[in-house]
Amino acid sequence: MKTAVKNQIVVPHKTERRFYGHGIPGVDLEQLAGKLIVVEGADGSGRSTQIAKLVGWLEGTGHATVQVGLKRSTLVSEELEQAQQGNILSRTTLSLFYATDFADQLENMILPALKAGFIVLADRYIYTLMARDLVRGMDEAWLKNLYGVALEPDAVFYLNVPPEELVQRTFAKNAALDYWESGMDLGLSRDLFDSFMKYQITMQKTFRHLQTTYGFTIVDGLRSADAINADLQKKISAVLAGK
């Protein structure tokens, strides 16, 4: 009896879908049977650990999964990397370049996978892109129009970890702070550590601001990886069941 219960596979409940804005031309939202789950958070907040665990759990419970993330498109990821290394693009350009990368993955990975009934796990989504641009003074209305192409996910989890802890985790892994994750291009401070702290605090504020519009779930990222995952599993189960 117990094994029978264990083998019971939940068929995801169908929900109404929509794009945030104008969307992608020619997409039939009715056909997107899969689910889109987004994990957001700063570098070092545990996103990839959580996603890896979720993949294991979802596959174990009979769901096919696909993983996507930023800067992974066939179309522009190489050029984007190159541009970032050289720090040669100005703000609007970089912003549009990232949006191109996002749209390419949305159309060539996310939408086809959802159509095929997969559970898509996105390591970051438009919110990180918007937050980065907002912090750098880009116009919010302009960004909202730009990312109006995005599909509204079924769930968005923001792993909240305070900057003091992020810095410790980053050092434990790399012993170096990343130029962009420290917001060094903003000129907040010439001291890398200082700049990192200031930048991350500003980013968290911006996420909280975006949360009021996009309503994602803020998850306490200070707990153990397993405790966080158990929490996410519970929430995702509810989404799959249509609750």
């Binding site: 031309p25 179309l75 050029e79 100005s90």
Partner: protein
Amino acid sequence: MKTFAELDFPGRLIAVEGLDGSGKSTQIYLLKRWLELQGLKVYFSEWNSSELVKAATSKGKKRELLTPTTFSLIHATDFADRYERHLVPLLRAGYIVLCDRYIFTAFARDVVRGCPPEWVRGLYNFAALPDLTFFFKSDLEVSLKRILDGRAQLKYFEAGMDLRLSPDPYESFRIFQGRILEQYLAMSTESNFLVIDANQLVEQQQAVVRELVTQRLRLAEFRRAERPPSKPPAEACKKSKEEASIP
């Protein structure tokens, strides 16, 4: 949206728009030569020409990876790069900037490809309007003949093959260009296009263009300084070194 003049830029931007094969590139080249020969500060910028972005665009086109949305976004990226890196600084420095295609190209093409008009216009709303926009209005058949005479084969995106209008590239090109022309004509008035009859001879068109430019811009204001700028840069260089040595 405002023009560069309305935004108090010392420079002026002149754009040319029109179908492929309307002869606009020839006309803007002749305009550029004329302005340069008068010793004016001139800069020329072409659609889809930013170095870094171009690599991605050509890869996307070659491998037919582009959708209407990514086609639109990648061209907007290219435009933004040229706009922020070249156009705006040069216009601040009092240049006459000549653009072979400007935002109206995107408005026409992307909308024909199925992108929502408000979305496309929103993407480009960081850009100021040209001070003068010449629209080279040619009969569809004339444009088609110019393109088809000059080239044996039509490129995939140029012919609008991604829209699946017709399996025949020539037929597809015809329909596609026809729709773009409709879009251009629809925005001609609201966008203050200076319409040039592109069925005329090259010289006749250029005469009209030069006349209009003379009327609308005070060309003498864009003259290059005669004085050789040998001394000031040397001083500036010294100064910046001193500044750099401050701990």
